[in-house]
């Protein structure tokens, strides 16, 4: 699928005074307090911050999974608030994908079927390519020997890798990964980082990653720190850890 490039003056993602509160029975929990953020096409960004600072909340909004309470979210210059349900579905199906912190795999369903699921909703990838694409994604996270296992028969780390494979299978423009290495040892963590870095360096994909590990964050070119629902720092990194080199070194 050809990647649609917009003029460089229009950022991929732009938020203006974005806030988010959760409501439950009259009780308001404000979580994000006016986030102004711009992320351009082909960036590799890490988001860091203490637990409860609102990282996942922000990611869900940026990843089209939730609506902000107030403020604006522009995707390629278009306000998302006015998008119809079908437009949002189309973006989720083709442009962005999400690695959930809690995996969110379908239980009692095989790894292959889980990874294949987004392809069912993809408008252009032909059905004949589904299995091959899914198997490639599963291979890239080193799980081909578990492809026909049920997801509830896997370890936590293996489930996390299934979630990553599912996010890769449609080759989306933007990948949101919420703590994708949280349950992995350093070796498989590195492997995942290599996959993501590859997608960015060679595939030209935009990667937005949440992590609480400095070493994982250091793979990105830019690190954004959140504190209590505000951006506390936003720094460019001129040298990044190279996961591939790291992997080779370890071998």
């Amino acid at each position: 699928m050809p990647k649609k490039k917009t003029s460089p003056t229009v950022p991929l993602i732009e938020t203006q005074s974005l806030t988010k509160s959760y409501f439950s029975e009259e009780l308001e929990t404000p979580v994000l307090h006016g986030i102004d953020l711009t992320i351009s096409e082909e960036e590799f960004v890490s988001i860091m911050g203490p637990s409860g600072s609102g990282k996942s909340t922000l990611m869900h909004i940026l990843g089209f999974l939730d609506q902000p309470t107030t403020g604006k979210y522009l995707f390629r210059g278009e306000p998302t608030r006015t998008m119809t349900d079908d437009e949002l579905a189309a973006i989720r199906a083709t442009r962005v994908s999400f690695v959930f912190q809690a995996f969110n795999l379908l239980p009692r369903t095989t790894v292959l079927d889980n990874v294949m699921l987004p392809l069912l909703y993809h408008p252009t990838i032909p059905a004949s390519e589904r299995v091959e694409r899914s198997m490639n994604a599963i291979k890239s996270v080193d799980l081909e020997d578990r492809a026909l296992y049920y997801t509830n028969q896997l370890s936590g780390g293996q489930q996390q890798r299934v979630a990553i494979a599912r996010a890769l299978v449609t080759s989306p423009d933007v990948i949101f990964a919420d703590e994708p290495t949280g349950n992995l040892d350093s070796k498989s963590g590195n492997q995942v980082m290599e996959v993501l870095q590859d997608l960015h360096d060679e595939g030209g994909r935009t990667i937005i990653l949440v992590t609480h590990e400095q070493s994982t964050a250091a793979h990105a070119k830019r690190i954004i720190h959140l504190l209590d629902g505000n951006v506390s720092s936003d720094t460019k990194q001129f040298t990044q850890i190279n996961a591939k080199k790291n992997n080779n070194l370890k071998k």
Binding site: H60, F64, L65, D66, Q67, D85, D86, A89, A90, R92, A93, T94, S97, F98, N104, L106, P107, R108, T109, D113, L117, P118, L120, Y121, H122, A127, R166, T170
Partner: protein, 406 residues
Amino acid sequence: MHINDTVQASYKAVTAHRMRSVLTMLGIIIGVGSVVLLVSVGRSFERYVLDQVESFSSHLIEIYPTGFEKFGRSLDSLSFSDYEAVTQLSTVESVAPVIFVTEKVVYGTEEISPMVFGTTNKFFANYSLNLEQGRLLNESDIKGARSVAVLGYQAAIDLFGDRDPLGERIRVGKRFYTVVGTMETIGSALLQDLDTPVYVPFTTAKAQTGQKYLSYMTMKASIDDDNLVVADITSLLRQRHGIENIDNDYDKDDFRARSASQATEIVGSVGLGLTIFIGLIGGISLIVGGIGIMNIMLVSVTERTREIGLRKALGATRQDILRQFLIEAVALTMIGGVIGIVGGASLGALIAAVASKFVGTVPFVLSIPALLAAALMALATGLIFGIFPARKAASLSPMEAIRWEG
């Protein structure tokens, strides 16, 4: 999303949650099955009752005296010459006169108080009563006013138990009778109980009681239209009794001729009550079945809501979701509905077959309206409680649905 993919997604969702699917289907099976079963069994019973009445009452006509009961005496408006006159009518045949003997019947130490019918052998034919052993009352019994008796099925048991009653002497009031025959059970006690009486020759009963009138008469219509025959008899007897009755007011008559098909109509109106009752049972089981289906569907709403959230997060449109759930609900409902209908009908047929062993042929009547209502109920509850929660879940943002706690 292509329709094939939707069907596959539904299939995978059904098989991935085997327990939930089985329970949902079970709810539908039980709901539909019980409606079909209960209503069909009710209908079969109703058919059985009507068949029984019709089989033994075809063209049967009875004439009995009416009017105010004179103190201490039975009604005496039907005379022996009335009997002779009715016998001459071309529209009737097999006329049997009846005189009741109101006496105790004794054998050894056993004493019972049955109806004692003084009648002729035509009586048995009119009511389709069959001999079990011995013989019926015959012409010479009547002519000679012999002291012989035929025992109804139950009377024979009550008096003799396991012993053979043939040839034994029983006492009716002050007179001794020799038992010459016993009757088969007629198996139905709907209009009259014809298993308990003792039958003796008409002439003997007349002699013993000294009665100058008939207790009643029974006969068969010899033409198809029972009502015509009844009218024929009625005008004959009115003429004989000197009753002017152009407006056909039965209160002015001192007798009443009635065909058993009219009695069937009475049973038929009892049948209407039965139908209403069955309908009520059907309605209640519809509601109970519907609630069962609803429950199991609502129990899984939380799980399903999360699944819907996830599917939406991966790019499913609202339509994709609704189609998947529609296919799932329809498939489960149809499979469960068919099993329920077949199961309910089979069980009903089995019950009818077992009942037939005990009370005579019970025809199995499958109630088509009940079947349709049950299928409709299953479809409606399946759709409403399968689709509405799915619709609601599909209108949430993916994260709201994934975080759903119910």
